[in-house]
């Protein structure tokens, strides 16, 4: 009873005074503790728009200093890689870097979508768990550039104590250097890999019907028509129809009119006559000569269809040669032709997409992190990438490397196609911040076209929908 009475006692003024005094006392003790505590690093609050300094940190070097790989011996860096065969290669040879520099590397590979989310969140929070990361230029270049999230390495590149004398900056392809350089001249990534879009063609099906490899987009439509034989389960053409994934297909075709969907000044050309003409070709190829259900196809379904000999042509990125030439996964081994994209009415271009490697602007170990980027993009690693068929390196020397060419896991025709594509490469997506939303909005329009919608009306609608998004991003 007594106990219950005590529990139900109301709070009096005296109680409140006691409580207040206690709180003040605790606060005072807390302040004293903080003041008395040794200085420790504090967690920085999220500052999404606050950028670190654009310039590279000052490197202390004196005349006569020479480059020394062991300069940062004993340090440890964290490397975040895009999950791919190229990531596998770097991890396989990681020991080489560790022995060369004495720097310990912790590396992980993360799938593309998850990596992009992780990067955005960590960079926005102003603190990154990685020192080195990779940037998909075609999606992230402007965003990373705007946030100044990666270190401008121009200072390091000019510094003989920081960049190895045999690094050979001029060895990188023009396309790679262009992608790696921001509009204001900052270089925040080192060129690593460029993916070109090509036309895979089934030589057996072409020969059986006596059809020649198409040189123009119109010829490609005609070839698809001739090779299309749905009764036998053979389709003239296959490409991505799934929204978002399909936008580069149309955009790459549009380059044949010598038109960028969004130009350097931010002007949209996505509902003009050229864009409509390219969309008409896209619609015709996918609606009339592609397998039923193609509006839900991503590259995975396209690859399956082509590798089982069900499609005569497949328009996609250049990186699919290894699975197409693997007898365990493909029925078209030895029959695959690799051709540059057919020309449009005005130009012949190959849509290009690429990946660079950079140092987090928030890293506390920028110097050893830069050493890693330097090693990963050196001549030896670029040649390894080509030899393993893991990608298309940005260095010209890789394609002349006798060792790499002696044992490539891909055919000579593929290498020739890659070199030819390099000469006609042009960004396969606009270099803007909301590029994913661009892909989404126009992707829906393209999917609607496959299902019968009018290209002009769809592009007009999509352009009107996307324009405010672009304007907002350019304005901010």
């Amino acid at each position: 009873m007594d106990h219950y009475r005590r529990l139900n006692k109301r709070v009096t003024r005296r109680d409140l005074l006691r409580l207040g005094a206690g709180v003040i006392g605790l606060a005072a003790v807390g302040s004293y503790s903080r003041a008395a505590a040794p200085a420790t690093p504090t967690v920085r609050p999220p500052e999404p728009t606050k950028a670190p300094p654009a310039t590279a940190p000052t490197v202390v070097s004196t005349p006569g200093d020479t480059f020394n790989w062991k300069r940062f011996k004993g340090q440890k860096i964290e490397v975040q890689l895009l999950k791919s065969p190229r990531g596998d290669l770097l991890q396989q040879h990681q020991k080489e870097f560790e022995e060369l520099t004495g720097v310990t590397v912790g590396s992980e590979q993360i799938p593309e979508q998850q990596l992009r989310q992780k990067q955005a969140i960590e960079f926005t929070s102003g603190s990154t768990t990685f020192d080195v990361t990779q940037e998909s230029w075609h999606v992230q270049k402007r965003l990373f550039g705007k946030g100044r999230w990666l270190l401008d390495v121009r200072g390091y590149l000019k510094d003989p104590t920081m960049t190895s004398p045999d690094y050979d900056w001029d060895d990188f392809s023009k396309a790679g250097l262009g992608y790696a350089t921001q509009a204001d001249g900052r270089i925040d990534t080192l060129p690593y890999n460029i993916d070109y879009w090509i036309l895979y063609w089934n030589q057996g099906l072409f020969q059986a019907k006596g059809v020649q490899f198409p040189k123009t987009l119109d010829e490609m439509v005609e070839a698809a028509k001739q090779l299309n034989d749905p009764g036998k389960g053979i389709f003239g053409f296959v490409a991505r129809g799934l929204k978002n994934a399909n936008t580069p297909v149309w955009y790459s075709m549009l380059l044949g009119w010598d038109v960028d969907g969004i130009d350097d000044k931010g002007e949209m050309h996505t509902d003009g006559p050229e864009a409509i003409a390219a969309a008409e070709i896209y619609k015709r190829l996918l609606k009339d000569y592609a397998p039923p259900g193609v509006s839900g196809f991503n590259w995975g379904e396209c690859q399956t269809t082509f590798s089982l000999g069900r499609a005569a042509m497949w328009f996609d990125g250049i990186g699919f040669s290894p699975p197409l030439e693997d007898p365990r996964k493909s029925k078209v081994v030895g029959k695959v032709g690799y051709g540059v994209p057919p020309a449009g009415p005005k130009k012949q271009h190959s849509g290009m997409f690429g990946v660079g490697m950079g140092v987090s602007a928030f890293s506390k170990k920028k110097e050893p992190a830069y050493f890693y980027c330097q090693w990963a993009t050196n001549k030896a690693n670029q040649a390894r990438m080509l030899a393993a068929g893991a990608g298309s390196p940005c260095r010209n020397s890789a394609y002349k490397d006798p060792q790499a060419l002696a044992k490539p896991k891909v055919s000579k025709e593929w290498v020739d196609c890659l070199l030819a594509s390099g000469k006609i490469g042009r960004p396969g997506l606009p270099v803007i911040i909301p590029v994913t939303e661009f892909r989404d909005v126009f992707g829906i329009a393209l999917t609607n076209m496959i299902e019968g919608a009018d290209p002009a009306a769809e592009l007009k609608r999509a352009t009107a929908e996307f324009r405010p998004v672009l304007e907002k991003s350019e304005r901010s």
Binding site: M1, Y4, R6, T124, L143, P291, G293, F297, L308, S476
Partner: protein, 311 residues
């Protein structure tokens, strides 16, 4: 019982307001408060704070990498006018209705069957609940291959019985029912387990009486089994409804919301806004609206469950 109730009532009415005793009580209560502090801190950190932060973000125009500015309720008014969001809401409700009703019917049916005594019942029951143990993403990848219109096993099976090939998830018309098919395969065993538990707990007397009165099997099921098992079924329906409303992984892996936006549910829409377009403010407003929808559904279902409890 009566005495203890009496004891409890007295102090509430005649409690003297002694300051001395009250001081001790306060001190004692203070000690009790210490016991709940860990839980309180945890709840504040992982539930209350994220919620307040989400609501705060929802009233801002905040895209990752850009300046943040206060918008008030503009994100919400935009949502109401956003055709794509409204369509995704309707689609979510359509998907949820199918993904709850079908497993509920099939789950009850399976439970009634497995409640009977027959050879290898345990083994077959084990096989039946195996889909429950599979990872949603792995399931989605396997079903993606099965759905392939030219090369998938489902069309091959249909061809064996003379049915023409279907487009499954590759057509706007059939994508939602096809996705529900995956959900039904995955979650019917859960309903079955819950209902089976309910069947095992049923009293035998009503059945004995019914048999004496000459009731047939259907009458016994409809008038005795079903009403008695309904509270258990309602639990399963509540779990399934919340789960179906939240469905994301299988849809994203199989269709990414396509073709076009034909399978874009609120979750997919939300994911795109937050993690593909980085529109954090707009996405937070979607979260708040979506949470409200889920709470309304949950309350409605809890009310219905109360109505079905045995009295």
């Amino acid at each position: 019982m009566g005495r203890s109730t009496e004891q409890l009532r007295v102090p509430a009415v005649v409690m003297p307001r002694s300051r001395v005793i009250g001081g001790r009580a306060y001190a004692r209560r203070g000690k009790y408060v210490l016991f709940i502090m860990p839980a309180l801190i945890l709840v504040l950190a992982v539930i209350i704070f994220p919620w307040i932060f989400t609501v705060w973000m929802s009233v801002h125009d905040w895209d990752i990498g850009m300046e943040r500015s206060f918008l008030g309720l503009e994100n919400y008014t935009k949502l109401v006018q956003d055709q794509r969001f409204l369509e995704s809401t309707v689609r979510t409700l359509y998907y949820t209705a199918l993904a709850v009703v079908l497993p509920a019917i099939l789950g009850v049916l399976a439970a009634v069957i497995f409640h009977q005594d027959f050879p290898f019942r345990g083994l077959l029951r084990g096989i039946f609940i195996m889909p429950l143990m599979a990872t949603p993403v792995a399931i989605a990848l396997v079903w993606t291959m099965m759905f392939h219109p030219q090369l998938g096993v489902l069309n091959y099976l249909l061809s064996l019985v003379g049915i023409p090939p279907q487009l499954w998830v590759y057509s706007r018309d059939t994508v939602i029912p096809a996705l529900v098919l995956v959900d039904v395969w995955h979650w019917t065993p859960l309903v079955m387990i819950i209902v089976l538990g309910g069947l095992a707990a049923l009293p035998t007397e009503p059945y004995e009486s019914a048999l004496i009165d000459g009731a047939n099997q259907w009458q016994m099921f409809w008038h005795i089994t079903f009403p008695l098992v309904l509270p258990f079924l309602m639990v399963a329906v509540i779990i399934r409804t919340i789960d179906a409303l939240k469905a994301f992984d299988t849809i994203f892996v199989i269709t990414q919301g396509g073709p076009g936006t034909a399978s874009e549910t609120i979750n997919i829409y939300l994911y795109l806004q937050a993690f593909a377009f980085y529109k954090i403010g707009h996405a937070s407003a979607v979260v708040v609206v979506f949470f409200t929808i889920i709470v309304i559904f949950s309350l409605l279902l809890l009310y219905m469950r109360q109505k079905t409890i045995w009295t």
